[in-house]
Amino acid sequence: MATLPVLKEYPAQEHPETHFLNHDKSLKSWLLTVDHKRIGLMYLASVIFFFFVGGVLALALRLELWEPARNFMDADTYNRIFTLHGAVMIFLFIIPSIPAALGNIFLPVMLGAKDVAFPRLNLASFYIYVGGALFTLYSMAHGGIDTGWTFYTPYSTTSGSAVISMTFGVFVMGFSSILTGMNFIVTIHKMRAPGLVWGKLPLFIWSLYATAIIQVLATPVLAITLLLLIMERTLGIGIFDPALGGDPVLYQHFFWFYSHPAVYIMIVPAFGIISELIATFSRKTIFGYWAIAFSSLAIAFIGFLVWGHHMFTSGQSELSTVVFSFLTFFVGLPTGIKILNWVATMYKGSIWMQSPMLYAIMFLFLFTIGGLTGIMLGALSVNIHLHDTYYVVAHFHYVMMGGTVFAFLGGLHFWWPKFTGKMFNELQAKIAAVILFIGFNMTFLPQFVMGSQGMPRRYYGYIEQFQTLHQYSTVGSWVLGVGFLLIFWYLVQSLRKGEAAPSNPWGGRSLEWMISSPMPPHNFDYIPVVKHGPYDYHQPIAEFRLGIDDGHSHTETKAH
């Protein structure tokens, strides 16, 4: 009969000499790393780069829209630029942003594991992403495409632009997303530390779990859709092109079966970050833990059944429009539950208004607007007027940017000390956050107004009455640009001369705060044992540093 091992406390080393960033500085150790933290950082650098590419494209678009007629680009170029803005932002930035960057760095650590289940597959996933990105860049170099990021047929099957290289690039990147999802699901199921039952998982993990399930189930359908599109273009298969006897609405069903759940891939991890931020900076255990955990799964499930709300005016049957509209309203319920629970968490909490918390609170406001306007669009009669107008553009920017990007920035600031070992300038961070908030609303609030007054989306020219609103929106885009440049500036400064970060600057209770900043190469030099939930702020920190000896000696001979 084995005796139970003795629990010891393993305090974190403050300001370690050696950590995962510097234990091996060769280029090869980075390019061939199987360390999830380094892979996550490479993803982070990539998504930030593509965010700036997509952002510059957006600034160009908004500049062109300053005057109703041609400013400096012609209509065909405009079509290519807005298509590229969408494709780059969606596939190269936002889908990998939270899961592949922040998720890769922190998921194993929060689980008390030394890495993800399949570290080499993780590296492969990154290089597949890079490969897909290269195809996209190739497509851009050949003039890009002008079909809109949705590649609707029959235009995409007949357009002269570089459709095949772009769709093939997206096809390849889909596999990166699938591999990340597979890795996360197996890691969460099989590699939790002793004592870490499902009910003690941080909510960020629950959100990554729900997201990974969506990634695994939905992305293959995008893959077959794009493959069929490529076949349609090359062989003239005839499934989607009416001239060949096909049905263009069928393409839309295929496309949106992935692309609607894709928006939940974008927002659900953001929800996870917000749970972490609000609990930590209210110093209070999250209100309704299981409601939030299960609502992520509910959103993942119901989110697969609403895709037709992108197609209300496409010619699909009345029966399906009614079903999709009903389910669209229904999917708002679990999301609403989250918002209420977050607010309830803050109630009577001890609020510490640091910049991550500022982003979380801004998220609550901006995402609520985005979410409610989504419900508006889900109403059939209203949708007839608002479909393909700027109202839709404003809605999705409020949820994707006001939602995901703000949560991403909040998470970036929250975990910055942990993965860089440096603190950033808190005052500059707050100022930048406020600038972003102002710039964002200036850019997109006028678009709700324009859209409801009839301004169509993707239009190169417009009638006089919309010019003032377009100009507000364009000025707003410049304010946003300034805000992002400021963030980039103080974060780079933090790397160069920021104050050394303690292991737990915010007083968190999940496992990542129990190890040094930056993290050790193998995360834990012991087997962590979890006794309490991740929001048990009333328990002393020592209770969260317990573990047992793991009997492994960590020599550096294993290549990482």
Binding site: D115, L121, N183, V186, K190, A218, V221, L235, I237, L250
Partner: protein, 217 residues
């Protein structure tokens, strides 16, 4: 706790796993998740099939007469046989019998080759009649304006399936080489196990393709 016994070393245990059981279970779950993606991937083609068959039932009945039921039936038996040999190969690896494992893996590859050869004959026969995928379709024997769509779907489904068979042949051949080099034993046969799972799915997909494409009465 660990499955390894005294006769086999633990060199396959990766550092981030606690023991080889955890590693093996993880590999299996990982492969099942990959199979889930394959099911949804092929599933899209099944959706296209179902939608077009519901719209044009008489077309599907007419066009299916161009498919050779005998060849399709033989291919079904061939793949079922290959699933059996694959399962026997795994069993041989589990029971420290590498020579038997190689025999069964080679049989699986041989049966897969037979499948592809029959497929080759089916396709070339169709090409002779002018039944090509997409715009190249020039067969006049089916009196229906959308006949080319049936065959486009047919070629996409069987073509994609065929590609997966070829990939399977490649991976199983690699397994034969590794087995000959003594890589697998009762403590470590994970690659054989998960390749088996992949191969069985290839069989399952054909189990659905056969009645849906060949046996429309």
């Amino acid at each position: 706790m660990s499955h390894t016994d005294a006769t086999h070393s633990n060199s396959h245990l990766q550092h981030h796993f606690v023991d080889s059981d955890q590693q093996f279970d993880s590999a299996k779950l990982g492969m099942w998740l990959f199979l889930v993606t394959e099911i949804l991937f092929f599933g899209g083609l099944f959706v296209a099939y179902i939608v077009y068959r519901a719209w044009n039932p008489e077309l599907f009945t007419m066009a299916a007469t161009q498919l050779d039921t005998v060849m399709g039936g033989i291919n079904t038996l061939v793949l079922i046989g290959s699933s059996l040999t694959m399962a026997l190969a795994i069993r041989a690896a589990q029971t420290d019998n590498p020579s038997a494992s190689i025999k069964y893996l080679a049989s699986t590859v041989a049966l897969a080759f037979v499948f592809m050869v029959i497929k080759y004959f089916e396709y070339t026969h169709k090409f002779e009649l002018g039944i090509y995928p997409g715009e190249a379709y020039s067969f006049t024997g089916i009196d229906h304006p959308k006949a080319h769509i049936f065959f486009s779907i047919y070629y996409m489904m069987t073509g994609l399936h065929g590609i997966h068979v070829i990939i399977g042949i490649g991976i199983i051949t690699w397994l034969i080489i590794k087995t000959r080099n003594g890589a697998f034993n009762s403590s470590y046969y994970t690659p054989v196990e998960i390749t088996g799972l992949y191969w069985h799915l290839v069989d399952i997909i054909w189990i659905f393709l056969f009645p849906l494409l060949y046996l429309i009465d």
